[in-house]
Protein backbone atom coordinates (compact mmCIF):
# COMPACT_ATOMS: atom_id res chain seq x y z
CA UNK A 1 0.00 0.00 0.00
CA UNK A 2 2.96 2.33 0.55
CA UNK A 3 4.26 1.89 -2.98
CA UNK A 4 2.80 5.24 -4.09
CA UNK A 5 4.55 7.27 -1.40
CA UNK A 6 7.35 9.41 -2.83
CA UNK A 7 10.77 8.71 -1.38
CA UNK A 8 11.36 12.23 -0.11
CA UNK A 9 8.49 11.78 2.35
CA UNK A 10 9.96 8.76 4.09
CA UNK A 11 13.66 9.54 3.74
CA UNK A 12 15.29 10.97 6.88
CA UNK A 13 11.88 11.20 8.55
CA UNK A 14 13.33 10.47 11.99
CA UNK A 15 16.13 12.98 11.48
CA UNK A 16 13.69 15.79 10.68
CA UNK A 17 11.51 14.92 13.69
CA UNK A 18 14.53 14.69 16.01
CA UNK A 19 15.81 18.04 14.74
CA UNK A 20 12.37 19.62 15.19
CA UNK A 21 12.03 18.34 18.77
CA UNK A 22 15.55 19.42 19.75
CA UNK A 23 15.13 22.87 18.19
CA UNK A 24 11.69 23.47 19.73
CA UNK A 25 12.95 22.35 23.15
CA UNK A 26 16.00 24.61 22.80
CA UNK A 27 13.88 27.57 21.72
CA UNK A 28 11.46 27.09 24.64
CA UNK A 29 14.43 26.90 27.02
CA UNK A 30 15.83 30.11 25.50
CA UNK A 31 12.44 31.85 25.79
CA UNK A 32 12.10 30.91 29.47
CA UNK A 33 15.70 31.09 30.70
CA UNK A 34 17.77 33.17 28.31
CA UNK A 35 15.67 35.95 26.80
CA UNK A 36 15.51 38.92 29.19
CA UNK A 37 12.18 40.14 30.56
CA UNK A 38 11.14 43.29 28.70
CA UNK A 39 10.99 46.33 30.97
CA UNK A 40 7.62 47.80 29.96
CA UNK A 41 5.51 44.73 29.12
CA UNK A 42 7.09 42.21 31.45
CA UNK A 43 6.86 38.48 30.86
CA UNK A 44 3.89 38.82 28.43
CA UNK A 45 6.29 40.13 25.78
CA UNK A 46 7.70 36.59 25.48
CA UNK A 47 4.58 35.64 23.50
CA UNK A 48 6.34 37.27 20.56
CA UNK A 49 8.68 34.26 20.36
CA UNK A 50 5.69 32.06 19.49
CA UNK A 51 3.57 34.66 17.69
CA UNK A 52 6.08 35.86 15.07
CA UNK A 53 7.40 32.40 14.06
CA UNK A 54 3.81 31.10 13.81
CA UNK A 55 2.89 34.03 11.56
CA UNK A 56 5.88 33.31 9.31
CA UNK A 57 5.03 29.58 9.22
CA UNK A 58 1.44 30.52 8.24
CA UNK A 59 2.62 32.66 5.32
CA UNK A 60 5.07 29.94 4.20
CA UNK A 61 2.29 27.33 4.37
CA UNK A 62 -0.25 29.35 2.39
CA UNK A 63 2.46 30.35 -0.08
CA UNK A 64 3.19 26.64 -0.53
CA UNK A 65 -0.52 25.99 -1.08
CA UNK A 66 -0.51 28.61 -3.84
CA UNK A 67 2.60 27.25 -5.57
CA UNK A 68 1.41 23.62 -5.33
CA UNK A 69 -2.06 24.60 -6.61
CA UNK A 70 -0.53 26.20 -9.71
CA UNK A 71 1.65 23.12 -10.17
CA UNK A 72 -1.45 20.88 -9.91
CA UNK A 73 -3.36 22.93 -12.50
CA UNK A 74 -0.36 22.70 -14.82
CA UNK A 75 0.45 18.99 -14.37
CA UNK A 76 -2.68 17.36 -12.80
CA UNK A 77 -0.33 15.25 -10.69
CA UNK A 78 -2.00 14.14 -7.43
CA UNK A 79 1.09 14.90 -5.32
CA UNK A 80 0.68 18.66 -5.88
CA UNK A 81 -2.89 18.48 -4.63
CA UNK A 82 -1.66 16.56 -1.58
CA UNK A 83 1.03 19.18 -0.93
CA UNK A 84 -1.42 22.09 -1.34
CA UNK A 85 -4.06 20.61 0.96
CA UNK A 86 -1.52 19.52 3.58
CA UNK A 87 0.24 22.89 3.66
CA UNK A 88 -3.10 24.63 3.96
CA UNK A 89 -4.20 22.45 6.87
CA UNK A 90 -0.97 22.89 8.83
CA UNK A 91 -1.05 26.59 7.94
CA UNK A 92 -4.50 26.87 9.51
CA UNK A 93 -3.14 25.48 12.79
CA UNK A 94 -0.34 28.06 12.83
CA UNK A 95 -2.78 30.84 11.80
CA UNK A 96 -4.99 29.88 14.76
CA UNK A 97 -1.97 30.09 17.09
CA UNK A 98 -1.31 33.59 15.71
CA UNK A 99 -4.93 34.63 16.27
CA UNK A 100 -4.93 33.34 19.86
CA UNK A 101 -1.49 34.58 20.87
CA UNK A 102 -2.03 38.02 19.28
CA UNK A 103 -4.86 39.17 21.58
CA UNK A 104 -2.98 37.88 24.65
CA UNK A 105 -0.08 40.11 23.66
CA UNK A 106 -2.35 42.99 22.59
CA UNK A 107 -4.12 43.08 25.96
CA UNK A 108 -0.83 43.96 27.60
CA UNK A 109 0.65 46.13 24.82
CA UNK A 110 -2.40 48.02 23.55
CA UNK A 111 -4.76 47.58 26.51
CA UNK A 112 -7.35 45.77 24.40
CA UNK A 113 -7.93 42.17 23.34
CA UNK A 114 -8.91 43.13 19.82
CA UNK A 115 -8.70 46.25 17.69
CA UNK A 116 -9.75 46.73 14.07
CA UNK A 117 -6.31 47.63 12.84
CA UNK A 118 -5.22 46.60 9.30
CA UNK A 119 -3.04 43.57 9.98
CA UNK A 120 -5.34 42.02 12.58
CA UNK A 121 -8.36 42.51 10.33
CA UNK A 122 -6.68 41.24 7.16
CA UNK A 123 -5.26 38.23 9.02
CA UNK A 124 -8.70 37.33 10.37
CA UNK A 125 -10.15 37.61 6.85
CA UNK A 126 -7.40 35.32 5.59
CA UNK A 127 -8.12 32.80 8.37
CA UNK A 128 -11.85 32.71 7.47
CA UNK A 129 -11.07 32.30 3.78
CA UNK A 130 -8.64 29.42 4.25
CA UNK A 131 -11.18 27.86 6.62
CA UNK A 132 -13.55 28.07 3.64
CA UNK A 133 -10.96 26.22 1.53
CA UNK A 134 -11.21 23.22 3.85
CA UNK A 135 -15.01 23.34 4.01
CA UNK A 136 -15.30 23.45 0.21
CA UNK A 137 -12.69 20.69 -0.17
CA UNK A 138 -14.62 18.49 2.25
CA UNK A 139 -17.88 19.20 0.39
CA UNK A 140 -16.70 18.23 -3.09
CA UNK A 141 -16.70 14.58 -4.05
CA UNK A 142 -15.08 12.84 -6.97
CA UNK A 143 -12.50 14.01 -9.45
CA UNK A 144 -13.42 17.69 -9.33
CA UNK A 145 -12.24 17.95 -5.70
CA UNK A 146 -8.59 18.44 -6.65
CA UNK A 147 -9.31 20.98 -9.38
CA UNK A 148 -11.74 23.04 -7.29
CA UNK A 149 -9.25 23.02 -4.38
CA UNK A 150 -6.42 24.13 -6.67
CA UNK A 151 -8.49 27.01 -8.07
CA UNK A 152 -9.27 28.12 -4.52
CA UNK A 153 -5.61 27.75 -3.52
CA UNK A 154 -4.72 30.23 -6.27
CA UNK A 155 -7.58 32.68 -5.70
CA UNK A 156 -7.21 32.87 -1.91
CA UNK A 157 -3.49 33.62 -2.18
CA UNK A 158 -4.39 37.18 -3.19
CA UNK A 159 -4.91 37.86 0.51
CA UNK A 160 -1.33 37.15 1.50
CA UNK A 161 0.24 40.29 0.01
CA UNK A 162 -2.56 42.30 1.65
CA UNK A 163 -1.75 40.83 5.08
CA UNK A 164 1.99 41.28 4.50
CA UNK A 165 1.79 44.88 3.26
CA UNK A 166 -1.18 46.02 5.37
CA UNK A 167 1.03 47.85 7.89
CA UNK A 168 2.51 49.93 5.06
CA UNK A 169 -0.61 50.45 2.95
CA UNK A 170 -2.97 51.63 5.70
CA UNK A 171 -2.41 54.34 8.25
CA UNK A 172 -3.17 53.66 11.90
CA UNK A 173 -1.54 50.26 12.06
CA UNK A 174 -0.40 49.28 15.55
CA UNK A 175 1.82 46.48 14.27
CA UNK A 176 5.46 47.54 13.79
CA UNK A 177 6.73 47.56 10.19
CA UNK A 178 9.75 45.56 11.29
CA UNK A 179 10.92 43.97 14.53
CA UNK A 180 14.28 45.24 15.75
CA UNK A 181 15.84 43.27 18.58
CA UNK A 182 19.39 42.94 19.83
CA UNK A 183 21.42 40.56 21.95
CA UNK A 184 19.71 37.59 23.62
CA UNK A 185 16.25 38.72 22.48
CA UNK A 186 17.29 38.66 18.84
CA UNK A 187 19.05 35.29 19.16
CA UNK A 188 16.02 33.76 20.89
CA UNK A 189 13.68 35.08 18.20
CA UNK A 190 15.90 33.71 15.41
CA UNK A 191 16.17 30.33 17.19
CA UNK A 192 12.37 30.26 17.66
CA UNK A 193 11.82 31.02 13.97
CA UNK A 194 14.16 28.21 12.92
CA UNK A 195 12.63 25.80 15.45
CA UNK A 196 9.00 26.39 14.47
CA UNK A 197 9.80 26.32 10.76
CA UNK A 198 11.51 22.93 11.12
CA UNK A 199 8.56 21.77 13.24
CA UNK A 200 6.24 22.96 10.45
CA UNK A 201 8.29 20.99 7.95
CA UNK A 202 8.09 17.81 10.05
CA UNK A 203 4.31 18.07 10.56
CA UNK A 204 3.76 19.04 6.91
CA UNK A 205 5.67 15.97 5.69
CA UNK A 206 3.57 13.74 7.95
CA UNK A 207 0.41 15.29 6.56
CA UNK A 208 1.53 14.79 2.95
CA UNK A 209 2.45 11.21 3.84
CA UNK A 210 -1.10 10.69 5.09
CA UNK A 211 -2.50 12.06 1.80
CA UNK A 212 -0.11 9.75 -0.07
CA UNK A 213 -1.40 6.76 1.92
CA UNK A 214 -4.98 7.77 1.11
CA UNK A 215 -4.09 8.09 -2.56
CA UNK A 216 -2.44 4.65 -2.54
CA UNK A 217 -5.54 3.18 -0.90
CA UNK A 218 -7.78 4.77 -3.53
CA UNK A 219 -5.56 3.34 -6.26
CA UNK A 220 -5.88 -0.15 -4.79
CA UNK A 221 -9.67 0.24 -4.52
CA UNK A 222 -9.83 1.40 -8.12
CA UNK A 223 -7.73 -1.52 -9.30
CA UNK A 224 -10.11 -4.05 -7.69
Amino acid sequence: MTSGIPGWLTRSRRVVWALAIVLVAASLWAVVARAPIEVQMGVVQKIVYIHVPSAIATLVAFGLTFAASIAYLATRAWIWDAIAASACEVGMVFATIVLVSGPLWARSAWNTWWTWEPRLTSFLIMWILYGGYHVVRASVAGNSKKTISAVLGVVLFLNLPIVWKSVEWWRGSLHPRSVTMTGDMRQTLLLSMAAWLVFFLAVFRERVRLEALRHAEEEVERAR
Binding site: V136, I148, V151
Partner: protein
Protein backbone atom coordinates in the same frame (compact mmCIF):
# COMPACT_ATOMS: atom_id res chain seq x y z
CA UNK B 1 -21.97 37.19 -29.27
CA UNK B 2 -21.95 34.10 -27.04
CA UNK B 3 -21.82 36.36 -23.99
CA UNK B 4 -24.92 38.25 -25.18
CA UNK B 5 -26.80 34.99 -25.77
CA UNK B 6 -25.88 33.68 -22.31
CA UNK B 7 -26.92 37.03 -20.84
CA UNK B 8 -30.27 36.89 -22.62
CA UNK B 9 -30.80 33.28 -21.49
CA UNK B 10 -30.02 34.08 -17.83
CA UNK B 11 -32.24 37.19 -17.86
CA UNK B 12 -35.06 35.16 -19.38
CA UNK B 13 -34.70 32.53 -16.66
CA UNK B 14 -34.86 35.26 -14.01
CA UNK B 15 -37.87 36.90 -15.69
CA UNK B 16 -39.77 33.59 -15.63
CA UNK B 17 -39.13 33.32 -11.91
CA UNK B 18 -41.08 36.41 -10.83
CA UNK B 19 -42.02 34.88 -7.47
CA UNK B 20 -38.36 34.56 -6.50
CA UNK B 21 -37.59 38.11 -7.65
CA UNK B 22 -40.46 39.43 -5.53
CA UNK B 23 -39.21 37.43 -2.53
CA UNK B 24 -35.66 38.72 -3.08
CA UNK B 25 -36.93 42.31 -3.22
CA UNK B 26 -38.95 41.87 -0.02
CA UNK B 27 -36.02 40.15 1.73
CA UNK B 28 -33.62 42.97 0.87
CA UNK B 29 -36.19 45.58 1.94
CA UNK B 30 -36.59 43.74 5.25
CA UNK B 31 -32.82 43.90 5.74
CA UNK B 32 -32.86 47.67 5.18
CA UNK B 33 -35.75 48.00 7.60
CA UNK B 34 -34.12 45.86 10.32
CA UNK B 35 -30.82 47.75 10.09
CA UNK B 36 -32.62 51.12 10.08
CA UNK B 37 -34.43 50.15 13.26
CA UNK B 38 -31.17 48.87 14.79
CA UNK B 39 -29.39 52.17 14.09
CA UNK B 40 -32.35 54.47 14.82
CA UNK B 41 -34.52 56.20 15.63
CA UNK B 42 -31.92 58.91 16.38
CA UNK B 43 -29.02 58.57 13.94
CA UNK B 44 -25.54 59.70 14.95
CA UNK B 45 -24.10 59.82 11.44
CA UNK B 46 -27.06 59.21 9.08
CA UNK B 47 -24.94 59.18 5.89
CA UNK B 48 -22.63 56.53 7.31
CA UNK B 49 -25.40 54.39 8.73
CA UNK B 50 -27.48 54.67 5.54
CA UNK B 51 -24.59 53.63 3.27
CA UNK B 52 -23.64 50.74 5.60
CA UNK B 53 -27.27 49.57 5.62
CA UNK B 54 -27.62 49.85 1.85
CA UNK B 55 -24.47 47.87 1.10
CA UNK B 56 -25.00 45.25 3.81
CA UNK B 57 -28.51 44.56 2.47
CA UNK B 58 -27.24 44.38 -1.12
CA UNK B 59 -24.36 42.03 -0.32
CA UNK B 60 -26.51 39.63 1.71
CA UNK B 61 -29.40 39.58 -0.76
CA UNK B 62 -26.95 39.22 -3.65
CA UNK B 63 -25.83 35.78 -2.46
CA UNK B 64 -29.38 34.52 -2.85
CA UNK B 65 -29.49 35.94 -6.39
CA UNK B 66 -26.20 34.25 -7.31
CA UNK B 67 -27.22 30.81 -6.05
CA UNK B 68 -30.73 31.09 -7.54
CA UNK B 69 -29.22 31.68 -10.97
CA UNK B 70 -27.29 28.41 -10.58
CA UNK B 71 -30.37 26.50 -9.39
CA UNK B 72 -32.42 27.72 -12.33
CA UNK B 73 -29.71 26.64 -14.72
CA UNK B 74 -29.34 23.17 -13.24
CA UNK B 75 -33.16 22.72 -13.16
CA UNK B 76 -33.41 23.58 -16.85
CA UNK B 77 -30.26 21.67 -17.81
CA UNK B 78 -28.89 24.83 -19.42
CA UNK B 79 -25.40 24.50 -17.95
CA UNK B 80 -24.86 21.05 -19.42
CA UNK B 81 -26.24 22.17 -22.77
CA UNK B 82 -23.95 25.20 -22.78
CA UNK B 83 -20.89 23.04 -22.20
CA UNK B 84 -21.91 20.71 -25.01
CA UNK B 85 -22.04 23.61 -27.47
CA UNK B 86 -18.32 24.15 -26.90
CA UNK B 87 -18.88 27.88 -26.30
CA UNK B 88 -15.87 29.92 -25.19
CA UNK B 89 -15.82 29.62 -21.35
CA UNK B 90 -14.91 33.27 -20.77
CA UNK B 91 -17.84 34.40 -22.96
CA UNK B 92 -20.14 32.19 -20.89
CA UNK B 93 -18.67 33.72 -17.73
CA UNK B 94 -19.04 37.25 -19.12
CA UNK B 95 -22.70 36.65 -19.96
CA UNK B 96 -23.45 35.21 -16.52
CA UNK B 97 -21.53 37.94 -14.68
CA UNK B 98 -23.40 40.63 -16.65
CA UNK B 99 -26.75 39.01 -15.78
CA UNK B 100 -25.74 38.95 -12.10
CA UNK B 101 -24.60 42.57 -12.34
CA UNK B 102 -27.98 43.61 -13.81
CA UNK B 103 -29.87 41.72 -11.10
CA UNK B 104 -27.81 43.46 -8.41
CA UNK B 105 -28.23 46.82 -10.15
CA UNK B 106 -32.00 46.33 -10.10
CA UNK B 107 -31.83 45.63 -6.36
CA UNK B 108 -29.71 48.75 -5.87
CA UNK B 109 -32.31 50.84 -7.73
CA UNK B 110 -34.94 49.48 -5.34
CA UNK B 111 -32.94 49.88 -2.12
CA UNK B 112 -31.26 53.24 -2.73
CA UNK B 113 -34.41 55.39 -2.37
CA UNK B 114 -35.51 53.33 0.64
CA UNK B 115 -32.20 53.88 2.45
CA UNK B 116 -32.21 57.56 1.45
CA UNK B 117 -35.77 58.07 2.76
CA UNK B 118 -35.42 56.00 5.96
CA UNK B 119 -32.21 57.82 6.97
CA UNK B 120 -33.08 61.14 5.32
CA UNK B 121 -29.82 61.43 3.37
CA UNK B 122 -28.64 62.10 -0.18
CA UNK B 123 -29.51 64.57 -2.89
CA UNK B 124 -30.18 64.22 -6.59
CA UNK B 125 -27.04 66.29 -7.35
CA UNK B 126 -24.69 63.53 -6.17
CA UNK B 127 -26.78 60.71 -7.67
CA UNK B 128 -24.53 60.25 -10.76
CA UNK B 129 -21.43 59.88 -8.55
CA UNK B 130 -23.29 57.53 -6.18
CA UNK B 131 -24.28 55.46 -9.24
CA UNK B 132 -20.63 55.28 -10.40
CA UNK B 133 -19.58 54.04 -6.94
CA UNK B 134 -22.39 51.45 -7.09
CA UNK B 135 -21.25 50.34 -10.55
CA UNK B 136 -17.69 49.83 -9.26
CA UNK B 137 -18.92 47.79 -6.29
CA UNK B 138 -21.44 45.74 -8.26
CA UNK B 139 -19.01 44.94 -11.10
CA UNK B 140 -16.65 43.45 -8.50
CA UNK B 141 -19.50 41.68 -6.75
CA UNK B 142 -20.73 40.13 -10.00
CA UNK B 143 -17.19 39.26 -11.17
CA UNK B 144 -16.15 37.49 -7.96
CA UNK B 145 -19.65 36.20 -7.18
CA UNK B 146 -20.00 34.48 -10.56
CA UNK B 147 -16.54 32.92 -10.17
CA UNK B 148 -17.23 31.61 -6.65
CA UNK B 149 -20.78 30.55 -7.56
CA UNK B 150 -19.33 28.37 -10.32
CA UNK B 151 -16.99 26.81 -7.74
CA UNK B 152 -19.85 26.16 -5.32
CA UNK B 153 -22.17 24.76 -7.99
CA UNK B 154 -23.61 21.39 -7.03
CA UNK B 155 -22.37 21.55 -3.44
CA UNK B 156 -24.60 21.13 -0.42
CA UNK B 157 -25.23 24.34 1.58
CA UNK B 158 -23.82 26.39 -1.30
CA UNK B 159 -25.34 29.64 0.03
CA UNK B 160 -23.24 29.22 3.18
CA UNK B 161 -20.12 28.19 1.29
CA UNK B 162 -20.53 31.09 -1.10
CA UNK B 163 -20.94 33.50 1.81
CA UNK B 164 -17.80 32.37 3.65
CA UNK B 165 -15.73 32.75 0.48
CA UNK B 166 -17.35 35.80 -1.05
CA UNK B 167 -17.84 38.15 1.91
CA UNK B 168 -14.26 38.09 3.24
CA UNK B 169 -12.89 38.46 -0.31
CA UNK B 170 -15.12 41.44 -1.02
CA UNK B 171 -14.45 43.32 2.22
CA UNK B 172 -12.25 45.93 0.45
CA UNK B 173 -15.09 46.46 -2.02
CA UNK B 174 -17.67 46.74 0.76
CA UNK B 175 -15.60 49.22 2.79
CA UNK B 176 -14.93 51.26 -0.36
CA UNK B 177 -18.60 51.37 -1.32
CA UNK B 178 -19.65 52.39 2.20
CA UNK B 179 -16.94 55.06 2.59
CA UNK B 180 -17.46 56.60 -0.85
CA UNK B 181 -21.27 56.62 -0.65
CA UNK B 182 -21.10 58.10 2.85
CA UNK B 183 -18.67 60.77 1.72
CA UNK B 184 -20.92 61.74 -1.21
CA UNK B 185 -24.02 61.92 0.99
CA UNK B 186 -22.36 63.75 3.88
CA UNK B 187 -19.86 66.02 2.14
CA UNK B 188 -20.93 66.03 -1.51
CA UNK B 189 -17.50 64.83 -2.71
CA UNK B 190 -15.08 61.91 -2.40
CA UNK B 191 -11.92 63.98 -1.91
CA UNK B 192 -11.12 62.57 1.54
CA UNK B 193 -11.52 58.92 0.53
CA UNK B 194 -10.48 59.02 -3.14
CA UNK B 195 -7.93 56.18 -2.68
CA UNK B 196 -10.79 53.70 -2.27
CA UNK B 197 -11.71 54.17 -5.95
CA UNK B 198 -8.32 52.73 -6.92
CA UNK B 199 -8.71 49.82 -4.49
CA UNK B 200 -12.16 49.00 -5.87
CA UNK B 201 -10.90 49.12 -9.46
CA UNK B 202 -8.04 46.75 -8.51
CA UNK B 203 -10.51 44.29 -6.87
CA UNK B 204 -12.77 44.44 -9.97
CA UNK B 205 -9.89 43.86 -12.39
CA UNK B 206 -8.46 41.01 -10.29
CA UNK B 207 -11.82 39.25 -10.22
CA UNK B 208 -12.23 39.47 -14.00
CA UNK B 209 -8.59 38.49 -14.64
CA UNK B 210 -8.81 35.43 -12.38
CA UNK B 211 -12.05 34.38 -14.07
CA UNK B 212 -10.41 34.74 -17.49
CA UNK B 213 -7.65 32.44 -16.27
CA UNK B 214 -9.59 29.90 -14.21
CA UNK B 215 -13.22 29.73 -15.39
CA UNK B 216 -12.44 27.15 -18.06
CA UNK B 217 -10.72 24.97 -15.44
CA UNK B 218 -13.77 25.21 -13.17
CA UNK B 219 -16.05 24.21 -16.06
CA UNK B 220 -13.82 21.23 -16.83
CA UNK B 221 -13.99 20.14 -13.19
CA UNK B 222 -17.78 19.96 -13.42
CA UNK B 223 -17.70 17.58 -16.37
Amino acid sequence: MTALRVLAKDLKLHARDARFLATLALFSLSLVLILSVAFGPLFRDPAREASATLWAALFFAGVLGLTRALDLESESGGGEALRLTGADPFSVYAGKATANFLLMAALWVLLLPCAAVFFDVGTLEVLPEVAVVAALALIGYAAWGTLFAALARGLKARELLLSILLFPTLIPLWIGAVKLTRSLWAEGSIDAVRDWVKIMVVVDVLGIALAAWLYETIQEAEE
